[in-house]
Symmetry: C2
């Protein structure tokens, strides 16, 4: 039987773990240090990963709180980061094979600009560009773009759906051999092979075409992370890669089955849509050492930041008036966030955790934790893949550089030895690495 190979991308997300940046061997200055981004991309390419991937938010994650006078937001390491799209062309100069993917919101960009930028990156990287389509959902961002609040959820997805059709339509606006640059005749391009889009929809009116011929991949790879009903529909119709947050193998398999079934209903080959689970490896020489590292990093999460994460699920209890090292109080019933609240109380009771311990556990990040020696981490990845719970992982290390190296230099070789991951690049483009070469 053929082995089920893994897709693996490095999700470089400095500040994702709210405490790990305080480890002695972490370099938080990477947040605006391009040489560190380059180094991380090179580590990813040495390990033959499919891609490096960046999320984005166009605001401080705690801007609203700070604006209202709460200063704990100043402990949030994700406050400082680039527009990741500007990082991709730089990384293209220092890598040859690695896919280069960044998030850019459909909510605050024009589709013509966005299509043109990713087509530019696709040329600059010679066919390695990926775009993660998101719709923006938080007020921190909205307030940097003239809005007090936001489009409601349904309208956001309706707009995103039209947005993506404009973008892919623009990417398709030139046939492959349209740009001839014929010195003899003086004709620069074949006007018969250039097509106006002439899109006129509810949200956008765009004539096209782009200012460049068809890019090496034709269409850069499209990532999405929708989990709601309209999010799943949009992903099944238009995404090449679906990034998902899962911690239970059976639930993840159900999610993957659902996306694949929807893709079939849209007339797509379900094998051309890859489901990648967000996973945070925490690696040690032994499983025990890895567990210790996890606890050490957890305790580095600043107290106020951890408590602020818990507060929206407290049912109105202000933890700051309690002894944070004392036991978790009962949380009153309210209509909102009941499931989170029950889980929090159950966690605190079952392990006899203090308020602060509970808060830090809750603030540790929600990606699947793969904690252990390299073989243990590889075991779990293999198990998820073999159970068809995913096609692979977006790997989110806790910190740079050691967290990145632990995965690329210790876990990946173990996966390669077992035959679940490539040892050499065979294709040329990001679509080849992911096995999503046919997009239509």
């Amino acid at each position: 039987m053929q082995k089920k190979m893994l897709s693996l991308a490095l999700f470089l997300f400095p500040g994702q773990h709210l405490g790990a940046w305080r480890l002695p061997d972490a370099i938080p200055e990477m947040d605006v240090g391009i040489e560190h981004y380059v180094r991380a991309a090179q580590l990813a390419e040495e390990a033959k990963l499919d891609a490096i991937f960046f999320e984005d938010q166009a605001a401080l994650p705690r801007a609203n709180d700070i604006a209202e006078g709460d200063t704990y937001g100043a402990a949030h390491p994700r406050s400082i980061h680039f527009d990741p799209m500007m990082v991709l062309p730089a990384l293209a100069m220092h890598t040859k094979h690695l896919g280069l993917a960044a998030t850019s919101t459909a909510s605050f960009n024009e589709p013509y600009n966005l299509a043109r930028r990713f087509a530019s990156i696709d040329f600059i990287s010679n066919g390695r560009a990926g775009w993660n389509l998101v719709t923006s959902f938080n007020e921190n961002e909205a307030q940097n773009f003239g809005l007090d609040a936001h489009l409601e959820h349904g309208a956001r997805y309706e707009r995103a759906s039209e947005f993506i059709d404009v973008v892919t339509g623009l990417w398709d606006s030139w046939e492959e051999d349209a740009v001839t640059r014929d010195k003899e005749t003086g004709v620069y391009f074949d006007v018969e092979k250039m097509h106006f889009l002439r899109h006129e929809g509810k949200f956008f009116k765009v004539r096209g075409p782009l200012t460049m011929g068809r890019s090496p991949q034709g269409r850069p790879v499209i990532f999405q992370a929708g989990s709601s009903e309209p999010g799943r529909e949009l992903a099944a119709r238009t995404a090449d890669v679906v990034f998902t947050l899962q911690t239970d193998i059976a639930e993840s398999r159900a999610f993957r089955d659902d996306i694949r079934a929807r893709a079939v209903r849209f007339g797509r080959d379900p094998d051309k849509i890859k489901i990648l689970v967000g996973a945070t490896p925490i690696v040690g020489t032994t499983d025990e050492e890895a567990q210790e590292l996890r606890i050490r990093m957890r305790e580095l999460i600043p107290e106020e930041l951890a408590i602020s994460h818990l507060m929206p699920h407290s049912g109105g209890v202000d933890f700051r008036t309690y002894d944070l090292n004392g036991p978790m109080p009962d949380l009153p019933e309210t209509n909102a966030g009941k499931s989170h609240r029950s889980a929090i109380v159950a966690l605190a009771r079952s392990e006899n955790l203090s308020i602060l311990q509970t808060a830090r556990r809750f603030a540790e990040g929600s990606y699947l934790k793969l904690v252990g020696a390299p073989a243990t981490v590889a075991d779990r990845m293999q198990a998820w893949r073999e159970a068809d719970a995913c096609d692979g992982f977006l790997v989110v290390p806790t910190h740079y550089p050691t967290g990145v190296e632990d995965f690329t230099r210790r876990v990946v070789p173990e996966l390669q030895r077992r035959g679940f991951f490539r040892t050499e690049y065979t294709g040329k483009h990001l679509r080849d690495h992911l096995g999503v070469t046919s997009y239509s």
Copy 2:
């Protein structure tokens, strides 16, 4: 007496000359070939130029005509080009000193996004970013952004003026030492040194701050090219570099005097605003050889493209019904474009030019032509600078690579020998090269 040094930037504008791309030694494939952009930037840095500079239009220059069925637009070499902002991070990886400046329109971008992108480039290049603010004026672009026509001129400038205040305000939103990343205390930044912008104006409402601390230059260098009354006012108030199209030394001096006087009225030091004239060098071993090259390139401009340039100034005469090798007919009086029309007829009569010859002359580009042996080109640059007609030049070669090499390897050494241009970089940032270090 101290010599008046020149500021020099390479304005890499493939397709600017509508015929030169057809020369045997031109490489039109540079339009989407990043390795050629890198090579051009390296040539500029070898010559110790201040910067490399890119213009932009988010549309095919002849999109409207093509949409209406005229296919001559397919001869326009400027149809194919990147979003130049995506090129800058790539060039930052292959250069150390050269300034990196690109055009990005205020008309179809959000100021928060634009400020963040250029701040990112400023970090990535370690203090070498420049932004050329333009307002978009043509329908080809408007139709890619949901509009049929455009904001009228006054409103465009009113909006641009507010736009630039938002951008610079965002660049100023963090004090220099605000981001501390203090592992000991867990505080990532000093909230007292981070400032919300809280801008609420006629066109924009933006809270800020950016998602990164103060960039190496604080504010990336601002280029503008306004020549109208509101354009001059905006430039005098906010620009570090004014790019201008001038062909007469006395008129150029008057323009420079005017901008400087306006700057003083805004309380600025006039020496901190640099006037760069767009200049196209056409270089030969002898002056005669250069003249021959000019004529050769002119004759490579495709006939239909040349005629289409002339038509808006024909007073309604359809040249396409005439013998193009015959003499220029009289052009009827109309209200529009009278000065151009008189100039065209005068040119044709004085040199006994055919319609096509006149059209090609007119379509050759409007930058100051510096035609001759390297010493001749250097003489003219020196003369303009010594007459205070400019502070330097944005140098627009006709083609790549030889047109670029002719300037950087033949003309610049001549200027260096004469002591009018640096032989080594002395400063670190683009602001240092230009001598515009103090922006407030």
